[in-house]
Symmetry: C3
Subunit: 139 residues, 3 copies
């Protein structure tokens, strides 16, 4: 069994954004040499998500508006977590809706995707350097 | 290490439905010959989910009503994604709540389930053929 | 390839609670002898979650209030599932928001975590003994 580990670093200037990280994950898979196996991609931070959906800017605007309705950023004092001095209470909630991680099948050396599947990093508390972990196991 | 890949195809005539796909996943596991490992089951389409819960029709009606409240199908023009000509903006949101994938342990050649765990395909934009991927790795 | 299976049992007296189960998962990893691989941790019950977030009591109070707003426990008769005699319809919905499982990378014999990542058991229908499964594969 082979295994491969790689970190992807991001520094999103806005508070919230969605980034297509599929090319970086594909590059990590190429480095791994794995042909059959599983690829875990997870946010290493608890106010960010990794998820799979469509690379369509209208949809991303819909996600942004919908998450802001489900878990509004303001007023800041509605979240007890923000009594710690943070202002990211909402980000911890939004991340649960969108998820921490994806697991993708590897078949014949490629990410085994449906036609529109792409991997996104969802940032909900930007303005600093944060990481995504890619861990690949297989043969 | 062994690996096994199988696609399951569905053509749900309604817009939304939940299908118990546990027997098909168990059959794929049987075909794999894997006794100890992990089984990934994921929707290959971005307006559908794979999730684990109870096979109880009242609960499925509750999920349907709840998801429609969290992300209503209509009015169609509330979603920017629908400006592309699609009418499935809501389906992309519902799928995030219910999830893309499950990873199930394989122990002694069986899906290692609690007493009520069953695997479901959640369709949120039916009326055409769509796929689920089963990828099994182990020994 | 090595594999290791362990059940963690919980009996939460309250209806709802969040328990940090990271030490028990780390102990299972130690028992496995696996140095490189993947660790699946999943609720075996369909009214409970396993998720990764911050071990901060204010945040947990925020999750509790938010989930109760998204899927209120009462009135009981709002859920068709409760016509079966259960009173846990809400718990099946809350569990979908927080998720069934996490998959964690194992690197050099440790859970490969970001700085604040901790694993939690989310109970939404307590008052009885329930289980979490830890399944580890790797080398």
């Amino acid at each position: 069994m082979k295994s491969h580990r790689q970190e992807l670093w991001f520094d999103v200037p806005q508070r919230r954004a969605f980034l297509n990280i599929t090319p970086q994950v594909e590059a990590a898979l190429g480095d791994s040499g794995v042909r059959e196996g599983l690829c875990l991609v997870n946010a290493m931070h608890i106010t960010a998500s990794v998820f799979i959906n469509d690379d369509e800017s209208g949809l991303h605007a819909d996600y942004e508006a919908w998450l802001e309705k489900l878990a509004p950023h303001e007023p800041i004092d509605q979240y007890r977590h923000n009594r710690t001095g943070e202002v990211n209470g909402d980000a911890h909630l939004k991340r649960q809706v969108m998820g921490r991680e994806v697991v993708v099948a590897i078949t014949e050396g490629r990410l085994d995707f449906g036609p529109w599947e792409r991997i996104f990093y969802g940032e909900f508390d930007g303005g600093r350097r944060k990481r995504v972990l890619v861990k690949i196991i297989g043969e």
